[in-house]
């Protein structure tokens, strides 16, 4: 965001005929160097809190497998175990954001492989709708993610956490729904 602001500033300068050459010729560091401390403190050191909700049979077991095989992923995710992804009431997602989660990740069995036959098919529709409502409420799309991770896909779990954490770091803290103390 900060970078964008500087680019915009440079572009404005160009439009009004100010320092056009300098702004183009100068490296980016020139613009942001004075704010390096700020960037490091506020943006880079932002450690998001990510809530994971995982089904017992596939994603939770997959997450265990990631551990058993000693894969490494960021410590930002905290997983709540439920028996099936269909247990997840959309209100859980909203409550999580109110509790201060910067991102919410839901994990279930691959569609068609549900331990309870059809549970994740309901979850899929329900969560797709939730995504729409979140969008409507003004929550950035990237903050909520649904992934199908089977019990044998430990590496997939680690990959998803890695990706999602970076994504949330880029989005910055979630303040829209968070209940302020």
């Amino acid at each position: 965001m900060l970078r964008c602001a500087f680019f915009r500033f440079a572009a404005t300068c160009e439009k009004v005929g100010l320092a056009s050459r300098t702004s183009r010729a100068l490296p980016l560091e020139f613009f942001i160097a004075p704010y390096n401390d700020f960037i490091e403190r506020k943006v880079m050191s932002f450690e998001p809190k990510i809530l994971g909700i995982a089904c017992n049979w596939c994603t939770y077991t997959g997450a265990d497998l990631a551990g058993t095989t000693r894969l490494q992923y960021p410590p930002n995710v905290r997983v709540v175990r439920v028996m099936c992804s269909s247990r997840i009431n959309p209100s859980f997602i909203f409550r999580a954001l109110q509790f201060g989660a910067d991102g919410v990740l839901v994990g279930g069995c691959h569609p068609g492989d549900c331990h309870y036959n059809t549970g994740n098919l309901y979850a899929r529709r329900r969560l797709a709708t939730t995504k729409k409502i979140l969008e409507f409420a003004g929550i950035e799309q990237g903050r909520f993610r649904v992934e199908w991770i089977s019990a044998s896909e430990g590496n997939r779990f680690a990959e998803v956490i890695e990706e999602f954490t970076t994504q949330i770091k880029n989005l910055g803290p979630q303040t829209k729904l968070k209940i302020q103390e």
């Binding site: 809190k49 077991t61 551990g67 490494q72 997983v79 028996m83 247990r87 509790f99 331990h115 019990a151």
Partner: protein, 649 residues
């Protein structure tokens, strides 16, 4: 106000390496409602368990939090501990700080702070827990075994010998599986038929075994202790209750089908038994190749049958079997090697796959045990190629485990039966097993040529038409080789049965990347699956040799026995219930439940849940608009409290 005890496990250094456990325990003691917090080296050991039990009594704890490994690992262990100390077992919360924390994090600061957050979540959850009472159900004493290979046969016999009734379901018209196709077994070179056929016969004769050949499982209902399994009996077009196995029909039949048993090397009749020692030794009609079914006339078999056993009108029939436990032993297929065009399988007649060669060696096989090529001549030079499709990122990443050893067996048999030169093209020789390395050494002395290098290509020889050229790189001498050969034997990857996916869906089993069935735990529960009461044995779990398969089958039989030898068993109490005062009668729950547990009571205008059918997924609880449905142990309050706690730190 609850009185919570927190017990933090070091798990040796597994947890203590990336989490400051004593700091975590001190932190726990500061949380509201926590009365006692301790850390210990191994919480699951006897002193650890005693410590928990003593503290429950001493501090009058009414909630226990164990901060250790995954609940999938030791939840049951700790539930027993607190139960023995007089606390309801559902008042336990496990915090997973090993699999999902210490093993996936390097930094001790990050690890400790995440552990604090997880522990805080657990404290929040624990406050909201309620004692639950387990359901007690009757257990059906019978067992079903799916698959009649050596694993299925062994498991069925073991169970039947203990006096339990066993239903052995086999897809083919005979039991025996792949082992019955082999001639010799490595490394002892004892005759496969001699050790298997007595077992097959024992299955047929056993009064406790109900042998269901030419059958498939079509539907599975119920749960551990009480499965209702629908079995489809495919139409044999021969009434086996009348047939006296004279086999006059098989002599007269003019139909020609491809013999699956001989891997397509020869033709068989349309009414047939797969091989002379088949069990049961009664024929079936293959509709695809039968002249009557194709052209509408023939009926030669009906004419010669004195027992009037031929019935062209027979239909598939379905029957329901009630059992308490199931053993799945569906075995394997060989990978189709046709897509690997560089090896020319299907293109050059001199290229064989390993099961075809097993049949060539077999004295009951198409050549009567003589090693001849498809044109009838004897090969003078033979190449055996290991790892075709296995250990290959493009096809199957796994090692098929038995190929090295059966290749050695082939080499020995080729040397014994022909005067050919035998070349082995291998990547690594894997001879880990009792007597395997010794067998390998013996083969080296038998003048078999071992070339370390994967076979690259099979091509037709330009100098000598009709012969093949085997191209490979010898990685020891770094030389490119072109070896003229008459016969190439491919050792394809072992893959799960084509219909394994379907079986997995029916019995609710998950599969790994290759499609083999997943065990509950790779080390400590290699035969159990995620579905209670369903066990796996043999190659359907992963490639293995006959001794390992038999050992697994015995193990699975013992595991199944522990279930079916109980009269009653406890089921998880984590079912859903309806609060009738809040229910609005919308019937959403009735619509979404895959098991039909909720039903609508029109008199009271509310839904009711049949707990015997409920499996506790909680789907109904999340569609309930008035939150009248409570998913026990995963109630809205419990889940939301846990979330709140997790997000607090």
């Amino acid at each position: 106000m609850s009185r919570i005890g927190v017990f933090v496990c070091h798990c040796g250094l597994n947890i203590a390496k990336t989490v400051r456990v004593s700091e975590l325990a001190e932190f726990a003691a500061t949380l509201p409602d926590v009365v006692v917090a301790r850390d210990y080296k191994f919480m699951c050991s006897t002193p650890g368990q005693e410590m928990i039990a003593n503290d429950i009594k001493q501090y009058k704890l009414d909630r226990v939090i164990v901060t250790a490994c995954s609940p999938l690992m030791h939840e049951k262990t700790f539930r027993k501990v607190i139960e023995s100390a007089g606390l309801n077992q559902y008042l336990l919360t496990i915090v997973n700080i090993r699999e999902q924390l210490s093993w996936v994090t390097h930094d001790i600061e990050e690890g400790t702070s995440k552990a604090k957050a997880l522990l805080n979540g657990a404290v929040y959850r624990a406050r909201n827990l309620a004692p639950l009472s387990s359901r007690v159900i009757d257990v059906n004493p019978d067992v079903m075994v799916v698959g009649g290979g050596i694993a299925g046969i062994q498991a069925a016999l073991e169970l039947a010998n203990t006096g339990k009734k066993v239903y052995l379901v086999e897809k083919n018209s005979t039991i025996g599986g792949h082992m019955a196709q082999f001639d010799k077994t490595f490394p002892t070179l004892d005759c496969s038929a001699c050790i298997l056929t007595p077992k097959m016969d024992a299955v047929l004769q056993h009064k406790n075994i109900n042998l269901m050949t030419y059958c498939e499982v079509s539907e599975v209902k119920g749960y551990v202790g009480n499965f209702d399994i629908t079995v489809k009996q495919k139409a044999r077009y021969v009434d086996h209750s009348k047939c006296n196995a004279c086999l006059a029909c098989t002599e007269k039949c003019p139909g020609k089908g491809v013999s699956e048993w001989d891997e397509g090397l020869v033709k068989r009749k349309a009414i047939y038994i797969p091989f002379p020692q088949a069990v049961p030794q009664k024929p079936v009609i293959d509709k695809e190749s039968c002249t009557y079914f194709i052209k509408g006339k023939c009926k030669l078999c009906q004419k010669v049958c004195e027992q009037k056993a031929i019935d062209y009108e027979q239909q598939d029939t379905f029957s329901t079997v009630k059992v308490g436990a199931v053993i799945i032993a569906t075995g394997y297929d060989l990978m189709d090697t046709k897509p690997l065009v560089q090896y020319g399988y299907g293109q050059y007649p001199g290229v064989y796959h390993s099961l075809e060669v097993e049949r060539l060696f077999n004295s009951a096989g198409p050549t009567g045990g003589k090693v001849t090529l498809r044109d009838g001549s004897e090969p003078k030079s033979i190449a055996i190629l290991h790892c075709i499709g296995s250990r290959d990122k493009n096809y199957c990443e796994h090692c098929s485990r038995v190929c090295c050893m059966y290749s050695l067996k082939f080499a020995h048999l080729f040397k014994e039966k022909t005067s050919a030169d035998v070349y082995q093209f291998y990547i690594d020789m894997r001879a880990a097993g009792k007597g395997y390395e010794e067998f390998y050494n013996r083969l080296i002395e038998e003048n078999v040529k071992f070339i370390r290098g994967k076979g690259a290509r099979v091509a037709e020889s330009e100098e000598e038409p009709g012969r093949l050229i085997m191209e490979a790189e010898d990685t020891i001498t770094s030389k490119f080789m072109r070896v003229p050969v008459d016969m190439v034997v491919l050792c394809p990857a072992i893959v799960p049965r084509e219909d394994a996916k379907e079986i997995g869906r029916l019995f609710n089993l998950s599969t790994d990347k290759q499609g083999f069935f997943m065990e509950r735990h790779p080390k400590l529960a290699p035969l159990a699956t995620m579905t209670e009461g369903i066990f796996i044995a043999g190659v359907c779990q992963s490639p293995k040799d006959i001794p390992d398969t038999v050992a697994q089958a015995n193990g699975a039989a013992a595991e199944a026995l522990t279930i079916v030898s109980m009269d009653k068993m406890e089921l998880d109490a984590t079912t859903a219930m309806v609060n009738p005062a809040a229910c609005c009668g919308c019937q959403n729950c009735v619509r979404v439940c895959p098991y039909g547990a909720p039903s609508y009571n029109p008199d009271k205008r509310v839904s009711e849940i049949n707990e015997a059918l409920c499996k506790g997924c909680g789907c109904c609880a999340s569609v309930c608009p008035t939150s009248a449905i409570i998913a026990r142990h995963f109630t809205n309050e419990q889940v939301l409290a846990e979330m709140e706690g997790l997000m607090e730190f």
